[in-house]
C-alpha cells in the first residue's frame, strides 16, 4: 500500500471516529455530575449502598473487586500468574544458557560481563535500614485493611514486594537471595492463586454459586468484616507479592549472580 492511499484511509477513519466521538461527547453529563437524566440511579450508587448494607464493608472498590466482580479478579490474578511464569521461564532459560557456556570456555577469567553495582553509601544503608520494617508493616496493613480503607491485596502485595528490593539496594544480591528463596516465593505465589480458586470452590461445596460470599459478614468497620473479602484480599496479596519478587529475583539472578560466582571463585583461589 503506498503513502497517499494510506493517508486517505487514515483521514477517512479519523473523520468518522472524530464525528462519532464529538456526537457522543456532547451528550455526556456535566463534569462532576454523576448521574445523567437518562439514568438517575447509577451503578455506583447501587454499589455504595450494597457494600455497606449487604456486605458490611466500607471500601466499595475492594467489595467490587473481591466479591461482586470476584470472577473477573480471578481472571486477572491468573493473567498475572501466567505472565510472571512466562517471564521467569524465559529469564531462567537465558540465565542457564549464557553464563554456563562462558564458565566452560573461559573458566579462569576473572572479569565477567555481569554488572558490578557500586556499593551503597552509609547514608543510603542507614535510611533503608530504617525503612524496611515500616515498609513490611505498611504492606501488611494495606493488605489486611482492604475492606475498610483504600487498598487491598494487590496494592499491599506490591508494597510487600518492594521490601526485599530495599534489602538488595542496601546490601547485595546474596542477601536478597537469602531472604527470598525461590521455593518460598513459588509456594507463596501458587498458594495465593490456587487459594483464590479454592475459596470459590468452597462456595460450590456449600451449594452456593462459584465465589459466592458464604462466610458471616461480621460487624461493619471491624477487620474481619465482609465474609470472604479479607480472605481473598490476603490471598491476592500473597500471590502478588510472591509473583513480583519472583520476577525481580529472576532478573537480578541473570544480572548479578555471575559476578557472585566469579567472586566465589576468587575467594576459592
Amino acid at each position: 500500500m503506498n503513502m497517499p492511499t494510506r493517508l486517505t484511509l487514515f483521514l477517512l477513519g479519523a473523520m468518522a471516529t472524530g464525528f462519532l466521538y464529538l456526537k457522543g461527547a456532547t451528550q455526556l453529563p456535566e463534569f462532576g455530575h454523576y448521574g445523567s437524566s437518562f439514568y438517575p440511579q447509577t451503578y455506583g450508587d447501587a454499589i455504595n449502598h450494597a457494600s455497606i448494607f449487604a456486605r458490611h464493608i466500607t471500601d466499595s472498590v475492594t467489595g467490587v473487586n473481591f466479591d461482586i466482580r470476584a470472577l473477573d479478579t480471578l481472571g486477572e490474578e491468573f493473567i498475572l500468574f501466567t505472565s510472571v511464569m512466562g517471564a521467569v521461564v524465559l529469564l531462567r532459560e537465558a540465565y542457564e544458557k549464557t553464563p554456563k557456556q562462558d564458565d566452560h570456555e573461559q573458566s579462569g577469567q576473572k572479569e565477567k560481563s555481569a554488572i558490578h553495582a557500586p556499593k551503597a553509601t552509609d547514608a543510603v544503608r542507614l535510611w533503608i535500614l530504617g525503612m524496611t520494617a515500616p515498609t513490611v508493616l505498611f504492606g501488611f496493613y494495606i493488605v489486611l485493611h482492604g475492606q475498610l480503607t483504600p487498598g487491598g491485596g494487590f496494592q499491599g502485595g506490591v508494597i510487600l514486594a518492594t521490601a526485599p528490593l530495599l534489602i538488595f539496594l542496601a546490601q547485595d544480591y546474596e542477601n536478597f537471595k537469602r531472604i527470598t528463596p525461590n521455593t518460598l516465593l513459588e509456594i507463596g505465589e501458587s498458594l495465593g492463586a490456587g487459594g483464590y480458586a479454592c475459596v470459590g470452590a468452597l462456595a460450590l461445596l456449600s451449594g452456593a454459586p462459584f465465589l459466592a460470599n458464604i462466610f458471616p459478614f461480621g460487624q461493619t468497620g471491624s477487620i474481619l468484616s465482609g465474609g470472604i473479602i479479607p480472605l481473598i484480599s490476603f490471598l491476592v496479596g500473597l500471590e502478588v507479592a510472591g509473583g513480583f519478587v519472583l520476577l525481580l529475583a529472576a532478573f537480578l539472578q541473570d544480572l548479578f549472580s555471575s559476578s557472585d560466582e566469579s567472586k566465589e571463585k576468587e575467594s576459592a583461589q
Partner: protein
C-alpha cells in the same frame, strides 16, 4: 473542576508529552517514574485513592524498575556480543 484538579491535569499532560519526546530510554524510564507519581496524584485528587495506590506502586515503582533491569540486561548482552566477536 477546581484549581487543584486543573493544575494536576495540566501537569500530567506536560509530563506525558515530555516522556514521549524523551528519546534516551534510560532518562525516559526516570521520567516515566515521575509521570507515574503525578498520575497517582491525579487519581487521588479525583477521589480514587484505591487506583492512586495501585498507580503509585506500579507506575512509579515496578514499571520503571523492570524497564531499568531490562535496559541493563540488554546492555550486558551487547557487551557479551562485542566480547564474543572480538575474541
Amino acid at each position: 473542576m477546581n484549581l487543584l484538579q486543573s493544575l494536576v491535569l495540566i501537569f500530567v499532560c506536560v509530563t506525558a508529552t515530555g516522556v514521549v519526546f524523551t528519546r534516551d530510554p534510560l532518562s525516559q524510564s526516570v521520567g516515566l517514574s515521575f509521570y507515574g507519581i503525578l498520575l497517582g496524584m491525579m487519581f487521588f485528587v479525583f477521589q480514587a485513592p484505591d487506583v492512586a495506590l495501585s498507580q503509585i506502586v506500579i507506575g512509579a515503582l515496578i514499571l520503571p524498575l523492570i524497564l531499568l533491569l531490562t535496559l541493563s540486561w540488554l546492555k550486558r548482552s551487547q557487551l557479551e556480543q562485542k566480547k564474543g566477536s572480538s575474541s
